[in-house]
Amino acid sequence: MTRVTDIHAYLADFDDIPGTRVFTAKRAREGYHLNQFAMSLMKAENRERWKADERAYLDGWAMTEEQKQAVLARDYNRLLDLGGNIYFLAKLFSTDGLSFLQAVSTMSGMSLDEYAAMMIAGGRSAEGQRSIKEGR
């Protein structure tokens, strides 16, 4: 049985994965209002208010200025660093009319065409992407 017995080791492992922010409690707490803001865009009337004045809409939420700037810039990697979760942020890029493929490509360091071509060719290999420490 692979029962987890050490919560600190369990959590520390997540920081060893290259190019990945696991949505831990620490991130969930930091990003609470950011994610709840994104969630609010599930309602059509909120989307209208948001589109009319993004900055004014953001100022209705208890987010940090850094989080607000990252939202305005649609900087998704930065938003992940600031506690955003992709399924919540999906409400933001869906409101912008972007698909998951389009939005995710912006985090990959590749153009949309390059990213889509990589996926069609079988995706990004796990080789060298598993562990920072072990370089595998």
């Binding site: 692979t2 709840q36 599930m42 796990a126």
Partner: protein, 279 residues
Amino acid sequence: MARITAGVASSHIPALGVASDFDKTAEPYWAPAFAGYEWTKRWEAEQKPDVVILVYNDHASAFDMKIIPTFAIGCGESYRPADEGWGPRAVPVVEGHPDLAWHIAQSLIIDEFDMTIINEMDVDHGLTVPLSMMFGKPEAWPCKVIPLAVNVVTYPPPSGNRCWALGEAIARAVASYGEDLNVQVWGTGGMSHQLQGPRAGLINAAWDNDFLDGLVGDSDRLRHIPHIEYLRETGSEGIEMVMWLIMRGAMGKATRVLHRHYHVPASNTAVGHIVLEPV
């Protein structure tokens, strides 16, 4: 008595729902992904399940950060498709089976699984895309559905072992329900995908196919895979595969494979699909 007759697993990629809704399934990009479900559509039409217990995860639709249930069971009369930011999918309302759902909920709690009970919620692509893949585009879904939502978004999600054990408890609960019902259990999500960060787009076909292999027969090796292995090998969203283990646990000691399908890509994701029956 109610009987679990089969288990189905499938990815629940939102883009598959979009392709279905807008009749793009014959386009060259989408055709190979959908082709692997043709067998299952015919098989489901013959099987005519009365109820599907549909294991899925909510993607910040019914649940936001206010309440995060680890295991939740839908005991409501019906569930509308959720508006996930682009308007609700134009698919039928999902009809529940409150009597069986409440029976399962009570049985699970007595069996020491501390379930959250949901009477009202909307259901997102995690639940409606598998229905589209298995049933196509009917006027009404051909069976009742009991949603079983698992937290795989905020860490820690439940372990694979716990998911498997929940499946075993669901099987006991269904077997003790008096009415004669044909019940299927579906596990959804996966397979490899990472929707975030510079490692986005990770796909591990070898690992995914080994996981599919592990669902068949009498091995229980999959229940011992730790979270970190899913994350390292299959991308951050590959963790959804723990939900397939609820289905596998519900199949009992051994399974036989009836159908299997694997295709890369659909959007950012590896499409995996398998149909099992208990032996």
